[in-house]
Amino acid sequence: MQLEEQLRSKMQEKDILLMTHIVLGYPSLEVNREVIRQMVENGVDCIEMQIPFSEPMADGPVILKANQEALATGISVKDCLIFGAEMAATFDIPFLYMTYYNIIYKYGEESFFKNAAKTGIKGVIVPDLPPEIGQSFLEYADNNHVAPVLIFTPTSTDERMRELARHGRGFIYCVARRGVTGKKSELNEDFHQYLSRCQAATSLPLAVGFGIQDRDDIEALKGRADIAVIGSRTIKLVEAEGAAAVGPFIAGLR
């Protein structure tokens, strides 16, 4: 089953889905494993696993630091892919890779997507590859039935959204605001108008990310978006209270 179908079937059961984010290798794959277990057991519907990159241009301080510290442990892309395969085989929810384009470019687009497909990864999010220069990337994704998830932002025009929607698969990642990951977003009237524009531009499910932090935020998204994305928040939680804190936190979100 492909990503969009999988999500749509879950959407039948819940009024909003939860997607979470982890940085592979931070603080270690062991902790990642435990965190993912807790997430899945507490009802997370989808997880994006970030393969760390030395230049995470679109990430804020928390994820930036996580990338750097993961790399400092010596983790390789191959380690990440083996771990990703293990997770996809172990847990029955869709897993995605999130990373910057260079990681995939250096690995080889074709090999990367073949690997993802073979190991059961459902989608890939790359924040620095606009579709007009990602033709081969998009083709390999489609050929391998791995969803290339594209991004809408508040600065995207309606026309641009329609263009992006044409290439996106699985769902659309709607960035809640200008800026990088990690800072709280105001979910105000402007934001609602923005989400309406997003909905109008695509028939794909909408995920909303950047600064979603607690139950109130998620409550506010219900009926307006299909998926709420929790990013830096769980990373900070693990830093502060350890992996065991993740389960209760997730459980309390919905």
Binding site: K106, D128, S156
Partner: protein, 413 residues
Amino acid sequence: MDTNGFFGNWGGAYIPEVLYQTFLELREEYARCRKDPAFWQEYIELMETYSCRPTPLTHAKNLTKHFGGAQIYIKREDLNHTGAHKANNVMGQGLLVKRMGKKRVIAETGAGQHGMATATMAAKFGLDCTIYMGEEDVLRQRPNVFWMEKMGATVVPVQDGSRTLKDAINEAFRDWVTNVDDTHYVFGTACGPAPFPEMVAWFQSIISIEAHKQILNYHGKLPARVYACVGGGSNAMGVFKRFLEEDEVELVGVEAGGYGADSGAHAIRLSSDDASAGVAQGYKTMFLQDDDGQMKQTHSVAAGLDYVGVSPILTDLWEKKLVRFESATDDEVMTALDLTMKKEGIIPALESSHAFAGAFREVGSLSTEEAIIINQSGRGDKDIFTIAHAFDDPSWKEFIIERGKEYSNTDKQ
């Protein structure tokens, strides 16, 4: 540049979606400027009345005699206001910012020269200004930081990654995606997402437009070769551009050899096999990266050259064999600098000294009928802390120790 911003296989605009619209507007405004002769005229007038253009082309007679080969001419970008070619690009972008009606500029800086130039432009054009600078570079280039602040800019030391230029670029992008509506990112070199490489090269082309005229005037014919140091590649593109139209002129880019090509501690992207194709900081080029695509640490005695990437335009010219690339080690560079000071009374920046070192190696084997041009991208004053340190000057050290003690004592009171 094709419509997607590529030069052959290189370049493009690998940008976060939030910047899409801004880049669209930037590309359009840039296209309008290129078509409008009045814009270039305004640019030239600004550079003539605020900076010192045209900068001279100096016949280095003593160095010529010393090497006994081609006539050495030095293009004097060091005489620009703020002391380097960086001013050309920044003033040009300043005019663009005014047309776009933005109120704030940000910039990354390595050596501090681009930050100085941007802070200067912001003061002149009445813009808010924030400069991102790797913490490592803040320490290496404190005088520049001081002046930027005095001109009203906020200098943010970047503590991520290698804490040098590339990290400052990342951080500037983070600012930009956050403040995209009122802010323009004044990219400092011919790198980054399109249209920056081409736009920066366009503003810098003023160097070779002048030099082309000057060399014909002084030497009576075209130079055999033109040398430039290559960090991001803006001064090189600037001094090469007009000469690219002339088949008989060989263009030579000199990269930072650091401790040597085999040491792993250098910034040689094109003249060794250490780099490979990649995509980062918004564009595709040859990067110094590992097999996974993680960027490597680089090293150069010149803070402005130790960058992991290089202009996609240069990479294209390299691939097409239209520009030859060489490198010079830190040691060769110090020797070239020393000789240039003693023979000509000219103090090239450490960056520029790479071009001198590259030229000195070869100039003796050219005929005295020929000429070469070396682009002196900046002046070395800014590097006093580094140069005095590198020459291990005892009275300098004593002076700093004394000053340090004075400050320690008064701080305690």
